[in-house]
């Protein structure tokens, strides 16, 4: 041992085991129960949709970074998360080419044009979905369970005032997007992320509570509203996207409450039967402002 070889760096000299790839791949693992549930409820077609979404995201990230001469980051898992999340919000009848294209838009427009991971103001998967809703409105609202076309519980409620059985809502035996139908599977994966410390609970808690309270106040069935549609997958996995959500604890509550209010406003009085997508995107846009006004009081500071 020659002391000339000693490594000199600034403190601290130990780091936690966490890393960006670890966090991203953990999110993938957390989404597996929802993925399996989608295969169970919507047959093997769910597998090809998910693969198409992931392929669109990963391949476009690779090509974008290759063309720009940047470091290729497809192994960090973040593009896989985007593609997987997007696919899980799509109807089971969606054509594979449209899914692939959605994945491409999510990564290129939602993430890479802003500078890649860490720089996107909006959740990339939601950008992909927003694009598809605008471009293929018919394809995006064709729901089917066991090959029989059906409306989603939210649409049934909105147009005909028909409520769906709560237990079926909770386990996911209903019409809807691939991964959003089973609240049970989504919560299972979320509890894994909570255990790992890779997700914050303030946003989903405040968002879901807000929807519950508001729908209750306006005379709706609050239990139905929190389990129906994309609220669970949106609140648990998209609103909590680290890059596009607030960095302060108070900010996360505000973000969640704001998103919850927008969801209810759209569901009860808006043109769409579902409002999670736009609720989160709108709150994403407010994040810099929220961070700005929710700086925590530093220890010993008199504000």
């Amino acid at each position: 041992m020659n002391s000339a070889e000693l490594v000199v760096t600034s403190s601290p000299h130990v780091r936690s085991e966490d890393s960006v790839p670890k966090i991203m791949w953990s999110v993938v693992i957390a989404l597996l129960p929802a993925f399996f549930a989608s295969v169970y409820f919507f047959s093997a077609r769910a597998i090809s949709i998910v693969l198409a979404g992931i392929a669109g995201a990963v391949i476009s990230e690779y090509i974008f970074q290759k063309v720009r001469g940047k470091k290729i980051t497809i192994t960090d898992g973040s593009a896989v998360v985007t593609g997987l999340l997007l696919a899980l919000t799509l109807p089971p009848t969606i054509p594979l080419w449209a899914t692939f294209l959605g994945g491409v838009v999510a990564i290129v427009i939602g993430k890479q044009v802003f500078g890649g991971i860490g720089h996107n103001p909006f959740n990339p998967a939601l950008i992909g979905r927003a694009f598809m809703v605008a471009a293929y409105p018919v394809l995006m609202t064709d729901w089917a369970v066991d090959g029989v076309s059906t409306a989603t519980p939210l649409a049934l409620m909105k147009s005909d005032g028909i409520a769906t059985d709560t237990w079926r809502l909770f386990v996911g035996q209903i019409g809807g997007s691939l991964g959003e139908t089973s609240a049970l599977a989504l919560l299972l994966g979320f509890s894994f992320l909570l255990y790992k410390g890779y997700v914050n609970w303030r946003i989903p808690l405040s968002m879901i509570s807000t929807v519950f309270l508001m729908t209750f106040i306006f005379g709706q069935n609050p239990v139905f509203h929190i389990f129906a549609g994309g609220l669970m997958i949106g609140a648990l996995y998209m609103a909590t996207d680290m890059v596009s959500s607030p960095t302060t604890k108070l900010g996360r509550y505000i973000f969640g409450i704001g998103a919850g209010v927008i969801v209810v406003v759209i569901r009860l009085w808006g043109g769409y039967s579902e409002g999670v997508l736009f609720a989160i995107l709108l709150m994403n846009a407010a994040v810099p402002l929220i961070n700005r006004y929710t700086r925590p009081r530093s220890l010993g500071e008199v504000k």
């Binding site: 041992m1 002391s3 000339a4 070889e5 000693l6 490594v7 000199v8 760096t9 600034s10 403190s11 601290p12 000299h13 130990v14 780091r15 936690s16 966490d18 890393s19 960006v20 670890k22 966090i23 960090d76 890649g116 991971i117 860490g118 720089h119 914050n200 680290m242 890059v243 596009s244 959500s245 607030p246 960095t247 302060t248 604890k249 961070n291 700086r295 925590p296 009081r297 530093s298 220890l299 010993g300 500071e301 008199v302």
Partner: protein
């Protein structure tokens, strides 16, 4: 007893088992010591010796008229070989007195300090004088002159003297050993400190991973009515002065202020033992304890060394470096300073020497920040490191001040938790220096 604590913070691997059961033993007397003549925060000192002088153990070799300073004493008897520049463990270039040790038989302690077996005949002023003359500084690592902390302005009152026995830095076990082996000296020192600031109550805060120390200290204070041992949770940085006060008293040190502002004085447990040694034995601060530890050292141990002993000498007495040792840190892994070489003297604030193996020394290649806010969620000072470093990188000093950069204690929790491995503390230091530079300009 319920363990108290502060909010946020982190739980790194503590690795105390390497040395926690190794009793303190005296290091071999070094043949040569390099004594930097500035081992405190404050004014520089004037040299009292010159090349060729014979000095005795305990003889004062540097001092100053300034209030905020701590004199330096010879840690061996011998001859002043030279005065030369050395690098101290903090990386600063400082003048040092190089003393060549004479034969050990000839060594005797000379000291201008009287010995007092109890505190009855000592006034608060006497105690402050002894602490100053003994050159005592904060032994937790900050090296702030202890007598300055004890000088309470007339308009201030001190309710509590807190002894910091948290020792939250991973690996380090010196305070632990001193609490286990010398509890009575610590209690005597605490009483002296309490008398010096006229405080009614004394508290000793110890993390709950050191139950042996807790029991030892509890036995030692069993007959004291106004001193209590308090259990604090094992969490980093529990030993930070502000965190310990928050945990024990739920009081906050004001930004830019001192514990004195909330009627508290905090000292390290080992500092209290040094105060006891100065009062009872007339012994100035010429030695201290150190944990020499880590997977990269052959035989981890706790030693009492003479101030100015070269790191190389200490490493040798712990069996030497292992072949694949890659990093030597003065202090602990969270706040310690990595050393370029081992010709550096261990000083009053050197509480540990940590040797890490090559496979423990990661080559961090930072990823972009993903806004996960783990740094915000764990900062014990409730700062926003991820936001602050953006301002620091762009030299936005007003924003840095608004976001309280100067409240950062550089504990390293943010860098520790960052999944992108961004060296946050490094940039926070940069930001602090920018804000300090602006303050100096304004003056």
């Amino acid at each position: 007893m319920k363990a108290l604590t502060f909010k946020q913070g982190i739980h790194p691997s503590y690795n105390k088992e390497l040395t926690k059961d190794k009793p303190l033993k005296n290091a071999k007397r070094p043949e040569e010591v390099l004594i930097p003549i500035k081992q405190h925060i404050g004014a520089p000192l004037d040299l009292l010796v010159k090349k060729g002088d014979q000095v005795d153990l305990g003889q004062k070799i540097a001092d100053s008229e300034s209030f905020v300073c701590a004199p330096i004493h010879a840690s061996v008897s011998g001859k002043v070989k030279e005065i030369r520049k050395v690098t101290d463990p903090g990386g600063n270039t400082v003048d040092a007195v190089v003393i060549e040790a004479s034969a050990e038989e000839d060594e005797k302690l000379v000291s201008n300090l009287e010995k007092h077996q109890n505190l009855d005949n000592l006034s608060p002023d006497d105690i402050r004088k002894i602490v100053r003359e003994a050159g005592i500084v904060g032994l937790g690592g900050a090296m702030f002159p202890s007598h300055v902390k004890l000088a309470v302005p007339e308009d201030k009152n001190v309710e509590y003297v807190i002894l910091n026995g948290a020792e939250c830095e991973p690996y380090l076990t010196v305070d632990h050993r001193v609490m286990v082996e010398r509890p009575n000296a610590i209690v005597f020192g605490l009483k002296a400190l309490m008398k010096a600031v006229n405080a009614e109550k004394g508290l000793i805060g110890i993390e709950d991973n050191k139950m042996e120390a807790v029991e030892s200290m509890q036995d030692a204070v069993a007959d004291e009515t106004n001193i209590e041992v308090k259990l604090v949770e094992t969490k980093y940085p529990q030993g930070g002065e502000k965190m310990l006060i928050e945990a024990l008293l739920e009081r906050e040190v004001p930004v830019g202020g001192l514990p004195l502002d909330i009627e508290v004085v905090v000292n390290n447990t080992s500092t209290a033992a040094a105060v006891a040694d100065a009062i009872r034995e007339g012994k100035p601060l010429i030695e201290r304890s150190i944990s020499i530890t880590g997977r990269g050292i052959e035989s981890p141990c706790n030693l009492i060394f003479r101030i100015g002993t070269k790191l190389a000498d200490l490493v040798e007495q712990a069996g030497g470096l292992k072949e694949n040792a890659a990093k030597v840190i003065a202090g602990g892994p969270m706040m310690g300073a990595a050393q370029k070489n081992l010709d550096v003297p261990a000083v009053k604030g050197t509480s540990g020497l940590l040797v890490m193996l090559a496979d423990e020394v990661e080559d961090f290649d930072p990823d972009p920040c993903i806004n996960c806010a783990k740094c915000v969620d764990h900062c014990p000072m409730y700062l926003m490191p991820t936001t602050l470093i953006k301002y620091a990188k762009n030299n936005m000093v007003e924003k840095l001040e608004e976001y309280q950069i100067l409240n950062c204690i550089e504990c390293g929790s943010c860098s520790y938790v960052c999944p992108s491995k961004i060296p946050l503390v490094h940039y926070l230091r940069l930001g602090k220096s920018q804000a300090m530079a602006k303050r100096r300009e304004e003056k």
